[in-house]
Amino acid sequence: MPPTPDRPLPATPDTTRLLRAARQGDRTAFDGLYAHLYGELNDLARQRLARFRPGQTLDTSALVHEAYLRLVDQTQVELQDRDHFLALASRAMRFIVVDHARARSAAKRGGGAVPVTLERASPAAAEEAEDVMALDEALTALEAMDARLGQVVELRFFGGLTHDEIARITGRSVPTVKRDWTRARAWLFRFMTKEG
């Protein structure tokens, strides 16, 4: 049956509880939480579309923050749980976008069946899909080189988090975060444009 009309985000597994268990090192909870967030953010993206008129672009930052407000019981968590959540949600956001780019690209090549109305999609989106896939490869390379820089990209670029938030999550100063972001972005560009 169709889900609850007004709050289609499922109440289970309880995000708050998973979050706290994940912080305490429960690996199962961590995996569960990540998978959970992936689905929730997808749902949320669709809901935002319902509120926005077509043509408005998805704001991942608002999405991630809204997800936190809606999925986590604020009275039950500590500040570091929030950081943990935002980091995980940023990562989920990354894969939602990249997975979509991949699926889109495959559909264009006549590969898999993707529930997308192609006549509605813009040519720009097709190009961007290729760009996003290239960016993801670059990010993977960056992570291999320096995980810390990779994380900043996830938090900043995909999660849309502020420098202050990233500073708290990573335990570094705001100037360091700004500088890391500048460096990371340069590296990404470099990886993406390097010949061969």
């Binding site: 049956m1 009309p5 289609p8 669709r46 319902a50 930052s61 509605r120 996003v132 670029f157 500048t182």
Partner: protein
Amino acid sequence: MSPSPSHPDPREVDDLFDRALDLPSHQWRSFLEGAAGGDDTVIQEVEALLRAVHASEAALGESVGEFAGALLDDLTHGIAAPEGTLVPGDRVGSWEIQGELGRGGMGVVYLARRADGAFQREVALKVVKRGMDTDEILKRFRYERRILAGLVHPSIARLLDGGATQDGRPYLVVERVEGRPIDRYADEERLGVDARLALFRRVCAAVDHAHRNLVVHRDLKPSNVLVESGGSVKLLDFGIAKLLVPDADDTAPSTRTSVRMLTPEYAAPEQLRGDPVTTATDVYALGILLYQLLTGTHPHRSAPQSLASVPRVGGDRNERGLRRNPTRPSAAVSPSPVEMAAARRTTPQGLRRRLRGDLDRILLRALAEDPIQRYPSAAALDEDIRRHLAREPILARRQSLRYRAGRFLRRHRVGAAVGAALGLLLLGYGVTLHLSAERLERERALTALEARRAEGVTEFLVELFQDPGLQGTAGDTLTARSLLDRGAQRMWSDEGRALDPGSRSATLVALGRAYRGLGNTDLSIPVLEEAVAIRRLDGSESLALADAMEALAQARAEARHFAAADTLYSEVIALHRMRTAPDSLHLALLLTSHGAVIRDLGRPDSTLALTQAAVDLFRRHAGEDDLRWAELYHDLGYAHRGMGELEEATEAYLRSLELRRMHPDPDRVRIARSLNNLGVVFRELGRFDQAEAAFREAWDMAGSELGPDHPRTTVKGMHLARELERRGARAEAEAVLRGQIEAVRARWGDGHWSVGQAHVRLGDLYLNQRGDPNAAVPHFREAAAIFTAALGLDHGWTESALGSLARAEEEVRVAVNP
């Protein structure tokens, strides 16, 4: 990674890059040449990075939204807009789509609003997804529409409209509910245990309403039970509900194919097995809901788990094994930390204490693997929570030794258990027996036979008391009455309460019927109420429950508690209809009894319709000479009279009387009753002679059958007195009335309503026939006092007596001061 000309060490590159960043661009070259030790590849790489700082800012931006806006737009549309999806601005019927609220396996839910502005509120509009519009799902959708249309309850989301979209897919428009799932609401509002229970009771009430309409929800879970900000509860999604009793022409979706529509975490074991779904299925889901509300955990899984381990239909054996034994709620609290308890305004220890005992038992009963072992209805679960909150003993009892011994006794001494209606030999027997399991097992085979025998004994005893022929003298009545009183006392004592529910309720029903047979309706009511409560909570077979309820309904109707009787009859009839092979004749009689009650509630047209339906039903199953026709004709007479159709009423009563009088052993109590009613019709027809004759015969017959002081006798005497008054036979009328007052007062005391009636009649006699208001006043005053105490100030009889009193007093005043 070792440095080489073609592959410079990225760490070294990054380090130089980092340091160069602090410098103005014109110093980069000299810095790098010094720091990189002349390695050109390193220098080139760092320089490329330094240039990339600005290039990357322009190319990538600050976020993926800037970088790939069109792709993200495509992403959201890709998720939200498969073919056939409606977008804001689209029209569906008279509704305009505002956006999308969510989607499920077979449909999309949109936010919508009336396009013409006639209705300001936002609604939820459900449409079957393109591609999902198979016959099966279309049927289900139409079906949901029918179910919702029939369910009107403040706690159930209302159906507002429905129809088909332009491309032919059906849609439903449902009240939009803005609320939080009940578990989240309770936590966020930090409700204590009592408040959670009170909230949950409202869910039970809504589910019970659906059950009374023969609808099972089948998918109760927190996301379907929302609480609005004002605290009101709303149940959503009767989507996979299934009517318990399909209409004859019904094409309800089959339950088998719907198995996959359920939510495994909240599904009852019988749903997972694909067994038939009943109201007990919802009771199970309610149990899970309550368990989560109280403990914050799922009964079959107290630790949080990942999505992957959600049980599936036909899950492995281990999964089923887990389900069989839910953790006791009070024990489930242990892994839950302090915050969980704090959300319930208590500590983990406090919560454990609070759950131990009653709530443990209530939940384990609701969550029993076997549907038969669960509460039979949401109302029964609700009742036990009410009892718990009111600190009354709950009915979900543990199977203590005492309880099991009681059960054994029931099997062996059922005759005695019924005899307990008289002497309660059973309790004198003691319940300290200890029996081995094997022995209990061996006895089981005998049980069925003995139970049947017991029923026979019960019937006999009840008939014994109801048979007017055995109540000839006051002495006998007293003996029977005192036996009953003793039986009732034992039933309310600790001993009686310790009996197993089956024996206790059977005895109570027998007692209630016997009291009624003796005319002590007031005493039969609490006894029958208790029997009904036990059977409701005990999960007794629906027929046993219906039987007790029918006895109670009769008593309530007799005590003129018509609204209560109406509710009871509705439920009894529903229970009978739920049976696969209902006893049509019995059902017909129930319909007419219900009809009579409805007439007294002021709906004579419904009465006639019900009675005629009963006659039609009866005609299909009973022969012409079936004596039960007499009862039906009597009821039909009553129904016609209510509609003012006096000739038809007369004919019906005469046919009833004819049938009864033909019987070799006529039922004189019922003949008297029909004669009495016929007399009333004659009076209304202005055939006063015939009326007087009918009343007189009825009064004589009832007096000899039931005794002159029986309420059913005095009613007839009252009518006779009125006819006597009418034709001026004052002396005889007064004698009848005074005799009535004496007889009734002697038996029932001064406060009985029949005494009041006699006083009214006497007052009327003095005031209207004799023109003696002084003599009338004390009678009216007495009547008013009795009615006020017995029936309440707003009862019609009380009002009428007070009116007569005022009139008589006014005449006295006028006579004194003309």
